[in-house]
């Protein structure tokens, strides 16, 4: 029993990362009908940004120029990183997707992949081969909840993810930009007729997705501390799978898909020979998509942003 509870916690943590990153794919998809294949690398760059922000702030604290308790430091890092990361997304859209707005979508996918490779190599070239170890913003602690052990990081990850999801919900439902995003996902073309500049909404969506990836990056960096320029590749593809699994363009779907992929992976690893993880996890994905060809929450040939 405690075993299961423990695994549930593990799955929720992993699922949080997948969900936060999958949201970036899903939101962009819902308005542009386009998968941002550079998103995994946006996540990587965002994590590096987070690293520098964290190191910088810790430096300031150490030099006692910034007397902040650790939780405030964490929040400050998170907010700053999300803000900075959003520009990465905007830039990616500007370079890789805007010039190809009317081109076949597959071409945009290729430029996305290329931008991803560019970012990987760029980070490698700028920062060299040395590994970055994400600083511990919050001293790790382990709690015992009945029979299960939970680290404060796990709780933080889960709590932050839920908080961000709630904020995202509020943003999408109670701001005009959020309404515009939802409107655009329903009927892309008609948006300019309401006097809404389409490019602003698109940039905003990219920014939002990247900011979430930035948050995921901080949480990820704190949980799995070593950063390298290729860290975004696999997790990016997996979050992409999660986004599709939930149903493309569905925010709710992306979140559920993310948590589900996390759960499948953890449970397979926990109950079966773990070398079979990918084999079984992706066979499940394949089966789901064979029998529910439009994902769990997707609709046939439509993209609706829902929550």
């Amino acid at each position: 029993m405690s075993q299961i509870a423990q695994q549930v916690f593990n799955a929720l943590q992993l699922g949080s990362f997948y969900a936060l990153i999958a949201l970036g794919y899903s939101m962009v998809y819902s308005i542009l009908m386009l998968f941002n294949f550079a998103h995994g690398d946006v996540f990587m760059v965002a994590t590096y940004i987070g690293y520098f922000v964290a190191v910088g702030l810790l430096g300031l604290v150490a030099a006692s120029m910034l007397p902040l308790p650790s939780w405030a430091l964490f929040v400050l890092t998170l907010v700053l990183t999300m803000f900075l990361a959003s520009f990465v997304g905007i830039l990616v859209e500007l370079v890789a997707y805007r010039p190809l707005r009317d081109a076949p979508r597959a071409s945009a996918a290729i430029t996305g992949l290329m931008v991803g490779i560019f970012m990987e190599t760029g980070v490698l070239a700028l920062l060299g081969a040395s590994r970055k170890d994400f600083p511990a913003l919050i001293p790790p602690q382990t709690f015992q909840l009945g029979p299960i052990y939970v680290t404060n990081l796990k709780i933080l990850t889960l709590g932050m993810t839920l908080l961000l999801l709630v904020l995202l919900y509020l943003l999408i439902h109670h701001t005009k930009l959020g309404m515009a995003m939802r409107a655009m996902s329903f009927d892309y073309a008609v948006v300019p007729l309401l006097g809404i500049p389409m490019n602003t909404v698109i940039s905003f969506t990219f920014a939002l997705g990247s900011a979430l990836a930035g948050a995921a990056g901080i949480l990820y960096g704190m949980s799995y501390p070593v950063l390298d320029p290729y860290m975004g590749v696999i997790i990016g593809w997996k979050a992409f799978v999660a986004a599709i699994l939930g149903g493309r363009g569905s925010i709710f779907g992306a979140v559920v898909g993310g948590f589900m992929l996390g759960a499948i992976e953890i449970l397979v690893a926990a109950t079966m020979p773990s070398t079979m993880r990918d084999l079984i996890a992706y066979s499940i994905v394949l089966l789901i998509l064979t029998f529910r060809p439009y994902g769990l929450f997707g609709e046939e040939y439509s993209a609706r942003l829902r929550l």
Partner: protein
């Protein structure tokens, strides 16, 4: 300003010269290239030594230029002397002869002759340097894989990323069969058949490997009945993950440690033959009505159904053809490299082949040739840039995609004048025949 005015006559003469060269038939170019290769073979090393290049520059000296810029004049001189001049002169001189030949030969013989010439040409060129030999074999394999992918992504308009998975299946199946059959190996024990037979058996093994790959591709072909676009893309992605994980768990063939000891049967002739054969078969398919039905499925699936096209059969055929040839490409790859492991066939390999495909252009045989050639050429030439290479290549590709969103040769084919003339002649004949009735 004055320069441009004064250069105009020069330009004009240059243009007329270029125009003259443009009319030169392909065969003459091949002859010219043959002369260049011969020259390189016999006097290349000496010339290169004399020019201070040390040895014949592997890929037209381009990577040498980047590495040692002070050698640029020497490299240029070498290129002009060994390649440029003989090529141009021979091409011009033999043009008349080839044209006269053209008139007498049937299309099949004509094309066959060209292929034979091309084969020996490439063989001779690449044999001058083993590095070239390896690169050209890998290039041929990439061309085969790209062309097969083009059937699904280009002609049928899906977005499949499973090519690495197909290559993995083909590579493993062929490797296991060859090692089991013809090699004394610590896993499979002594060879089942006499090892001398290996080169003869290899084509059969490749066909089996292709067939097994095609069978495994049913996992993505069947969902394609109900799913299109992005969901199908994910299914193909899942296929890559599944295949990789599957081979990692196959302990008896090395698991993640990989599998080696493949006999050396994939020499240049073998690879060349399979590539040409594969392209020929796929060309036949996509130009037939059965194959063009993939286009109908892409452009408008519902209209295709009404026009009696069995879209399910079309989808299955397209995927299985893709898988078969990607499997063959994988089998060739395994025997060229002589060592494979599951990590060789990860999603990055798919991405690379996708890059080649979209650079070259969808729905185009020429594009499937051009994409890999350009991509590998860039990749080899920019090697001296080291790390920066992977900053430069993406930028070039992004630029290319922005300028030509459908790829360089998307939806077009290079028209070979001779074949064009034949086609026109055939059509005129048909018209006359019809009029005569």
């Amino acid at each position: 300003m004055s320069i441009s005015v004064s250069s105009t006559p020069f330009r004009r003469s240059l243009r007329s010269k270029l125009q003259a060269l443009r009319d030169v038939p392909v065969g003459s170019w091949f002859l010219g290239a043959a002369l260049a290769v011969l020259l390189e073979w016999y006097i290349g090393p000496a010339l290169a030594y004399a020019l201070g290049l040390g040895q014949i520059p592997a890929i037209f000296g381009l990577s040498l230029i980047l590495k040692k810029p002070w050698l640029i004049p020497s490299v240029l001189l070498y290129l002009v002397l060994i390649y440029g001049l003989p090529l141009a002169v021979m091409a011009r001189l033999s043009a008349g002869l080839i044209r006269r030949l053209e008139a007498r030969l049937s299309t099949g013989v004509y094309v066959g002759l060209h292929l034979v010439l091309l084969f020996f040409l490439l063989w001779a060129w690449s044999s001058a340097d083993d590095y070239r030999l390896l690169v050209i074999r890998l290039l041929a394999i990439n061309i085969l894989a790209t062309m097969s992918l083009n059937i699904v992504n280009g002609w049928m308009g899906e977005f499949s990323v499973s090519v690495a998975g197909f290559m993995a299946v083909g590579a493993y199946v062929s490797s296991v069969l060859m090692v089991w059959g013809f090699v004394n190996d610590d896993v499979f024990g002594p060879p089942v058949f006499p090892p001398q037979l290996a080169p003869m058996a290899f084509p059969i093994v490749l066909v089996i490997a292709g067939a097994v790959t095609a069978f495994s591709a049913l996992a993505v072909a069947i969902p394609s009945f109900r799913t299109r676009g992005d969901y199908l893309a994910i299914i193909t992605l899942a296929y890559v993950f599944i295949v990789r994980s599957f081979f990692e768990n196959m302990e008896f063939i090395g698991g993640p440690r990989g599998f080696m000891n493949q006999p050396e049967v994939a020499g240049f002739p073998m690879v060349f033959f399979w590539t040409v054969f594969g392209i020929w078969v796929m060309r036949n398919y996509v130009t037939s009505i059965l194959g063009k039905a993939t286009n109908a499925v892409r452009d408008n699936e519902s209209a295709a159904e009404m026009m009696t096209i069995n879209t399910r059969a079309v989808k299955i055929t397209a995927f299985l053809t893709h898988a078969f040839w990607a499997g063959v490409a994988g089998g060739l790859y395994a025997h060229v490299i002589g060592y494979i492991n599951p990590a060789t066939f990860d999603i990055r390999r798919s991405a690379e082949i996708l890059g080649m495909l979209y650079l070259g252009g969808l729905n185009s045989i020429t594009g499937s040739l051009l994409g890999p050639v350009l991509f590998m050429f860039l990749s080899e030439v920019l090697r001296p840039f080291q790390l920066l290479k992977w900053l430069v290549i993406p930028v070039i590709l992004i630029y290319a995609m922005i300028r030509r969103p459908r790829g360089l040769m998307g939806f077009q084919e290079l028209r070979i004048p001779f074949l064009e003339r034949r086609r026109i002649a055939r059509e005129e004949e048909k018209l006359h025949g019809a009029a005569g009735d």
